[in-house]
Amino acid sequence: MLAKLRALRSELAMVSAAGRNPFGVTFDSILSATEAILDGKRVLLLGTNNYLGLTFDQDCIDSAVTATMAHGTGTTGSRIANGTYGGHAALEQRLARFLGRRHAMVFTTGYQANLGTLSALAGRGDHLLLDADSHASIYDGAKLGNAQVTRFRHNDPDDLRRRLRLLADQPGEKLIVLEGIYSMLGDTAPLREMVEVKREASAWLLVDEAHSLGVLGAHGRGLAEADGVEADVDFVVGTFSKSLGAIGGFCAFDLDDFGALRVAARAYMFTASLPPSIVASVIQAIEAMEAQPQLRDSLRRNGQHLHAGLAAAGFVLGAMPSPIVSLPMPDRETAIRFWNQLLDAGVYTNLALGPATPGGRPLLRMSVSAALTPEQIDTAIAVITRTGQLLGLATAGLAAAE
């Protein structure tokens, strides 16, 4: 049965041979939003997507505990078959209010939000236009539906325009799918230009704000808010597992006649709904996100701090400063050694390998949190620079040393 996985198995063995299995890191315990214990040693967490640092927020924890005591540990079924709890409806209303949308639909994970939304919105005879660097959940959502899928060059409005022109004579709705911040390199979509293309083609636009919710925009509503084009975005998809520190996903929109979506989206129907604890902590995290805009300022400062420190050390960086800082690696072996040596030195980052990365290029990916202190970031920069110099990657540091 597992014979077909032989090639993957040998690749995994190769990746793990230099030290640890990068896809099987098991922490002994998590101390805070920024530190954990791994193999008995304290490590700095620089690869969590815990953008606002809310995983240990006392109010979120208290809400989760209270909800568990009041409503139990789980819902034991789907909302379609086993009923909606008051908390699910309250979360959808709270989220819609936060996003300034008329409605929101909550899913059990962010992955399922894309799976359910894309497959239900774009049906047979419709067209999905996906950015080439889209997250796997977008590709899988497209595969689950019956729409014709067209891929366009990453962040290239002209290529999207050209493809929409070629599809102009074809019947069916056209839905363009973009991401606010792309997870691997931390770059943002050129949303204003994309909106122009969308208008020209009378297409629909869905923006996945998974990595930009709570991060971009004056109120944290994401890239569409930051770029002032929320009115042109028809569907906002996102997750509760990053800025909001829990798990779950959503789709929000202004269409009133959407009830059928709940019985069309298979990823919504055929899975258990979020447990009361998560629903309560997410509602509380939305409150925290609204009440504490300074978290976003800290996050931005921390992203700039890490980016500037690594650039000064001579690293080639993947994108403009954002909470995601990625270092493109010359080859897979160097990426694996770098990742292992950083972990040995007490800094946990993400090793990202093809085909999950743009162009299949290996990356050392980091994400900052508002909860990181400047001293922690300085420590990280020093460790990454020292390790990078040994591998010949931090050229400014080497030049200075010579």
Binding site: T150, R153, R162, L166, G354
Partner: protein, 83 residues
């Protein structure tokens, strides 16, 4: 829809751009085994050919592409204005 001769010419040109112009290409050449194009690189390669030929290949048609011959077949059925 583009004809086979045009498609083959563009495939050769695109492979040269990728630095794979030295590999002799026939209809039986495997994208994965002979040209070392993994699933994502192959998708990007098809996207490059779509631009060259000004056509569109739906993604569900790409799963069947294993050889240059398969690729030629899919590209000649593409939606677009190339002739």
């Amino acid at each position: 829809m583009p004809d086979e001769e045009l498609v083959l010419r563009e495939i050769t040109g695109a492979l040269e751009e990728l630095g794979k112009g030295t590999v002799p290409v026939t209809m039986e050449t495997s994208l994965l085994h002979d040209l070392s194009l993994d699933s994502v690189t192959a998708l990007d390669f098809v996207m490059q050919l779509e631009t060259r030929l000004d056509i569109i290949i739906p993604m569900d048609g790409m799963a069947e592409i294993e050889t240059i011959g398969d690729l030629v077949g899919v590209l000649t059925r593409g939606t677009g204005k190339a002739d």
